[in-house]
Symmetry: C2
Subunit: 143 residues, 2 copies
Amino acid sequence: VKTNRLTPRETTIWQAVKAFKEVVFARIESDIQQASGLSGAEFGVLSRLQDLGNGKLSQQALKESMGWHKARLSHQLTRMEGRDLVQRVPLGRSVVVVILPEGDKALTLARPAHVQAIRKHLVRKVTREEADALLSAFEKLSR
Amino acid sequence: VKTNRLTPRETTIWQAVKAFKEVVFARIESDIQQASGLSGAEFGVLSRLQDLGNGKLSQQALKESMGWHKARLSHQLTRMEGRDLVQRVPLGRSVVVVILPEGDKALTLARPAHVQAIRKHLVRKVTREEADALLSAFEKLSR
DNA sequence: AAAGATTGAAGGTTCAATCTTA
DNA sequence: TAAGATTGAACCTTCAATCTTT
């Protein structure tokens, strides 16, 4: 059948999905920001620099690990250099990204906040069974 | 206990949630854009103008129905006026927003694409039971 | 003054076009 | 040339500051 409208049930699902997306991420990122001044994107970049490269990583490797497109990372690094969180070091035709002291300091503040926020706003809010159900549903939906 | 790291299970949940958020919305908005040229935000504004006000709504009412802050709507309307999708009409100290022919045309194309996209990328991918589980989990998480 | 709205800056994201260096 | 990266434009979002009209 050719329909132009969602059923009430479909509408409910769609609304719930939208609300979830907006609310949960906003809360988690807000907690990280309060604790460290870092945005979610900044935290992601800095953690990978520290975890995967001990504070130093090629832009190429950083791009892969974030799953980002080159332009996205480039713009992000430009902003982060402006805030003295990282520094770019040209190397041949590529670039190495290095954490600066400011970035390191902020990351130290952000790490525990990140863990606590995910537990508070996500993990602890559902039972183990509900979490399992979410996981299997998300797996099918993201395929 | 004071921990600085998520457990493997927590990490899995967090990754799944992030993947879900990025993938599902990107797919749905991409389908709408292909069919009509409208972004998700534009589609939201135009649908409400049509559904709630028959093509014409006060900016105030539009803001409420979108659940947006004033600046967000103002910037959005500025862009949409630039694309000739809507027009602002000053009225006392407030503003009435009117759909223009371009907006109406695009909306006609977008509506069926929106419905199909939600079914294709969301509703049909999970069983009824899984959808119920998602709904109850989202309800708890968004509170 | 207060309500309704706009503006500018800063951060984020995507695309296409461009630069740079091996 | 081609890989690695940058740039500019357009869109999106938030915050604080600023009109504007009653």
